[in-house]
Symmetry: D2
Subunit: 342 residues, 4 copies
């Protein structure tokens, strides 16, 4: 039995922990051999492989990124994509694929399994925690931890100068990172994509905070949008090099807060720092257990299946479930946390 492994989409702390667990258990307990595919779906598409055995996974548990590389290549958009993949798997003698990725990667894996009989097992990965069918995804806890530490640090600088500090965190379509890090960091305002914000309300919270002699911290997910349309979030003008000027919601919101409240405001955009580096202990635990259960799915011939966390258990769910809809922050949870606003 030869098993292929690939990692697709944006990188995420814990990918290496999954790879290591899949290989360690596959080799030691089931006697499998492995083929690593480079750069997500590009690997099986172009037949680009890397050796994957026990020595290859030594010492990778605490390392961020992925030793297999990643890409956003989608074989469904490539000419002859499916055929090239099945040909390459056959040529390499690969009998099953462990596909580690988010909505896109698993969407491809679902179709490959269901429509073309390629035996795939899925491992959910998204730093944003917005995949359905699993309580949490690995990488999320690390990102929340990094964002929280940054917010902790910004409190003292906000207080020393009595300024507003706006922190833009990841989360294009969901506010999980903003909600968790904002709550853990003691933010006074948390803005998420699921709940369009009212700039005047934000300014009212900011002002009331100053009135109580505190300096407010505003945590905003990169995908949060204003309710009333009075905040132009994307500037479509071109810069000197013909590039579209991008300026995130954090920077725009800070400018607007300054304008409306007369208080100094500063922005910090955490960016890629949130998704790199060593995974937290929790993410190593979750990623490792996902890997151990994924290889068990292979052994059981349970393809089209994805491993998922439910409570403290790792379970198996249809891969299609995970990609069916985005898991967003429920309104009642956002309201629960709202007691700390202002």
């Amino acid at each position: 039995m030869r098993v292929g492994v690939l990692t697709g989409g944006g990188d995420c702390p814990g990918l290496n922990a999954v790879i290591r667990a899949v290989v360690r258990k596959g080799v030691q307990e089931y006697g499998y051999e492995f083929t690593g595919f480079r750069d997500g779906w590009r690997g099986p598409l172009d037949g680009v492989t890397v050796p994957l055995d026990i020595p290859a996974v030594r010492g990778i548990l605490p390392r961020g990124g992925t030793v297999l590389g990643s890409s956003r290549t989608n074989p469904l958009n490539e000419r002859d994509g499916i055929r090239r993949i099945t040909d390459n798997l056959a040529a390499l003698g690969v009998d099953a694929l462990v596909t580690i990725g988010g909505e896109d990667t698993l969407g491809v894996a679902t179709r490959l399994t269901e429509e073309y009989g390629v035996p795939c097992v899925g491992v959910p990965k998204t730093i944003d925690n917005d995949l359905s069918a699993t309580d949490y995804t690995f990488g999320f806890d690390t990102a929340v931890g990094i964002a929280t530490e940054a917010i902790d640090r910004l409190h003292t600088t906000a207080e020393s100068h009595m300024r507003v500090l706006v922190v833009e965190v990841m989360g294009r379509h969901s506010g999980w990172i903003a909600l968790h890090s904002g709550l853990a960091g003691g933010a006074n305002v948390i803005l998420i994509p699921e709940h369009p914000f009212d700039v005047d309300q934000v300014c009212a919270w900011v002002t009331s905070r100053f009135r109580a002699s505190y300096a407010p911290i505003v945590v905003v997910a990169e995908g949060a949008v204003p309710r009333d349309g009075d905040l132009v979030l994307k500037d479509r003008s071109l810069d000197a090099f013909g590039h579209v000027r991008l300026s995130g919601v954090g920077e725009r919101l800070a400018l607007e807060i300054e304008k409306r409240t007369g208080k100094e405001a500063r922005t910090t955009v955490l960016g890629h720092v949130q998704r790199g580096g060593t995974p937290s202990a929790y993410d190593r635990w979750l990623a490792t257990r996902f890997g151990l259960h994924a290889i068990d799915c292979v052994r059981d011939g349970d393809f089209g299946t994805m491993v998922a966390l439910q409570g403290t258990n790792i379970v198996r769910v249809p891969m299609a479930d995970a990609t069916a809809r985005l898991k967003t922050v429920p309104p009642e949870l956002y309201e629960e946390v709202g007691v700390f606003f202002g």
Copy 2:
């Protein structure tokens, strides 16, 4: 409505986050007043209180320990304990109690509610994660994170000198911290109280590890015991000052490994470092949500109830359930992790 709050038992990162959430929501949403009791049950027993209002909980979210102090005082063992408590509560006008603690503290709260009509709501607390009826307790994630970081650091010193490093972590009755930190830290042996260990087996793992040119890390819970009785874990002799000499399982095991394998072994006992300091983002999230839901129990008159985590939801369970039995590591989970041993 006046609500008393107390924290009992060993300290745990996240206690202050609970206190803050209880007070913030209680004051802001329900208009309650609060009385802080000092040092666990000693507070209501002796009528020792501290002011507890919005200013008192400012800035305590990221701080370890408990602003209320703690103790292991058990009023059931005190003369007139129950009566003194009910008298003091009446005198102070306290209508309900939020009791934050582990098995002992909540056991007392259960009896006070059920047998003496004192309206108590429970918030589970144990750094060891061994309380039933909740998926996790706050403080645990912080402890696992600290232990994992220590194990990460010990790897390089083990490799540089090709030594065995034995790391003793907390866990008198359960192996959760050892299991999680050992897995996350890439330990080669993990020993837990639930599964008596065989010293020869440990030495075999150690030896096989060296044979593969690696230096082994052994993580052992402080309550782990040898299967075969050939490791004397407590030395009953007295020292020069008449104190009983204590030497933990980690130190004894290291000596024994040296003796049986001929390899140099060193021990690190992490001790209290695991339970102090700023809580992880996860623990702040969990503790805060516990606090928000506990004050809702008070509002609903839902006494004898404890808040608990199930999946991603905070639910209410009978307090008695939490203390009925210890939540230990299930054998199948220990076995699952065993693929990484040796």
Copy 3:
């Protein structure tokens, strides 16, 4: 004897450690009393004070920011500034001032002492490490540590996607933070204000790095400028709200690298995270020793003097020396580090 204390300019980890040391030694060893002035020179200017005694400095050692608040108020620019200060000091019975700040704050203190006879002692503070007459200033080590940790994290995300990552760190006039964190973080290019950069050279380093199958990290101080003027660093156009659009050198450089090399590039601007939060152990040590020696200067009547680090010793230098010229990165040091470029 009554001693006033103030902190001026941008905040910096370690300010509280200085304040604590000044007060602890002043009270315990010399029996002094203290007056805290709020918000830098605004305190003595407007007579705004805070109590400053042993209880007031309890627990502040590990906390970022400054319990006295800070501002950039310059009394030399205020009508009757000097007279208002001398009047307030007299009215409050303040016999000497410990002034903790950078170039501006100490420049004022120098003139107050020399021209108006106000007895000031200086403690140097700049996160940028660019004050002359002292080997290091506190806060710098913390900033370098935070930037280095961010660079560590960015390596894995760069490698996983084979992208260029540009990290913009603090340093408007000097490249100390960029140089230290870039070297410690294993950056492949480090750009500093002291040495105008050549965009084509940067692109050549980036390209050669990719050729060796690595993903390059470019660390750039916020004040670094291109040698050849072909990179427009400030966009003077106005945005929808009439604000001047600001975009830092990091963002502009990334766009230019993409354009010239055809490789994907991303920017991270660390911003205020670098100057907030708990000071490193080194900064606590240095700040505390500065404080202990500053109060000794007061005792000795050694005014117009600043404490400074030389080797491992704390010495006294004329305050005027510190502000005479900026301490920039010497060319030979930049060249020494250049072996790691490309």
Copy 4:
């Protein structure tokens, strides 16, 4: 030109940074080739080598430990030790040796150079910071940082339970780590080998601390000794396995404090955690610069020389100077810090 590199003695964060800098500059700027020797002096003694070139040093900058391995082997104690080394160097074509180590390793290098004409350059290494002729050694800052973080964490647990916490840190012959981490961590008592302590004085400080409603933290270097001989620090009795029972000064002192003050005391022994894992940014900076200058010594034929830090400069000193005497904490520095005791 072929240069050998070895690392001797206890491991220390920053060793890999030195190795990388030596090789990067040696290969890129001077065209040298390198031979890595395994396990300190054992390598040249037994002719055990590892490949050492640019790819071999990739990615090792942030890693603790040493890729070359280490040992305490002393060739002067081996039969024919000197001859075996000179023979092996000749056979391997090694023209010069970069020796990275502490007192012992450099002592051997000094004699090899002076008495036997083996061209050695020294790089000072001791986590204890007790080598003369250099302001600091790499590894020390990392150790102090880890110890300080532990002390930070212990404060909250001490306060919650009003206990004494004794923290034993490294430092057999000098108190640098205790002094720096104790000061940075806000300890109430710091005990160092250079200044024998009086148990009654310690207890008086502890008691006065409790009287002010604080819980004391006592930091003690492993080599600290009581002045009056009333604390038996080593128990010579044998345990059940015939091993000498070892119990450190921390544990003994805690027992004694309990006995004399009636207060609960707990001990934490940080142990090897202090010397493992990723180096701090400062240590990476210092180690890298040491490496860059060491290879310049080789180029200049400046053998018998050691690189050292003086202020912010890397200088060259005779290797013999470094090992001539231990650099201990001067009494006036210990006294300076004493203002925080009690």
